[in-house]
Subunit: 224 residues, 2 copies
Amino acid sequence: MRTVKKHDERRKEILKTAEKLFSKKGFAKATIADIINTIGIAKGTFYHYYKSKEELLNEFIYIEMEKTKERLESIVNDNSMSPYEKLAQIFRKSMHHKTINKSRVKMLAKALYNNDNNIVLLHKRSQKYLEIATPLIGQILKEGVASKTFKLAYPIQTVDLILRMSHSIDENFAKMLTQSITEESISDFLKICENFSIAVHRLLGIKENQIELIYKNEVLELLN
Amino acid sequence: MRTVKKHDERRKEILKTAEKLFSKKGFAKATIADIINTIGIAKGTFYHYYKSKEELLNEFIYIEMEKTKERLESIVNDNSMSPYEKLAQIFRKSMHHKTINKSRVKMLAKALYNNDNNIVLLHKRSQKYLEIATPLIGQILKEGVASKTFKLAYPIQTVDLILRMSHSIDENFAKMLTQSITEESISDFLKICENFSIAVHRLLGIKENQIELIYKNEVLELLN
DNA sequence: AATAAATGACCGACTGTCGGTCGGTAATAT
DNA sequence: ATATTACCGACCGACAGTCGGTCATTTATT
């Protein structure tokens, strides 16, 4: 059987299929054979569009990050918000997004964080996120420093540290979604969230509780 | 040719050889064939000792971490030092260690950080480090809180954040070693170090410049 | 002390999987 | 008619891992 499609269409089809399989089986476990069999194309066709599995992964992450970039830019460039609000928005929106896509997020967390086959994917993704998010969020900090709401010497470097700290939230959140939830584990996770919030306040040089980075209730609802 | 050795001896020989090859070629690029050919044993012999390549990697990291654990414990349990000094010791010792083994560290950084084949190794290693170092360094923070030298609410969680921040130093340091060094890149790196130091001070709730976590001169010497 | 039995260190051909290649065919555009 | 390109699938090489069996050493038995 031979079905001919437009270049862009086929390329997108491969990407979408890969996306599904990556989140279902993980990057390492999802094979090229899986992808082409799902679509019903031949090996050669795949390599007509992507020169390696690695390139496919990179494009997958690239697309993801373009969306993230747009989301961040719209917040950073919104002149109606103070630096406080902008920062809060960024963290809350990501949490809010999780609340809305709860079941999908859960599935993804289980697939991605719960096995070693995705270390490469997760690493590349967070590396890329650091790369694009640091200068953007850096803008917010610079703004805050200029208006004397934040007190810090190195905005860009500080963003880098904040984002690295936020990995702790991400990882622990994924862990929560994949293991049985007890009262103890919930209170542990809330501690982590609260401590993260305190830490960000301190790095920004502002009084505590100025920014509500994470809504407790939303977290609790997400975990039930 | 058949040379028979004691169990422990042979197992150690495999581990040592693997260690060399991992740091020379990276985990993914170093093949089982490489290992057994270097030693002069058969495939089956390898699998007589390790049930998978993964298991070998885990043991490799385990041994590394046991040493790290001992190093940390000796600092944590040293009653002659204040919490300040203990923390400083931990960071400075790792830098000092790098200065001493300069050439080896450089080679390792190039091999491990400069290609994607080691993401898994690096990830597993830093994960394991978080696991064992967090409670130990946590002890120091608790001590500091008890004696009112540090002001923070969640010692363990704070250590987690500090260690995650320190990844920034590690990664950037490795990057420095693998790319051509300009005045600009050096000043960038020093900014990163200084900002890290400020951040740690703030998270601990102490005045700035109380602890000299990183010796500038040592860093500079290491980079020349 | 001699012999048999059990253990486990060691061997290497072989298997299965997977990413990637290549020469060619069929559909579409020019 | 011709060039282009989407598509095909047999084939390849690299690699982790398996398996049936050999040989040296230790332990138990006579």
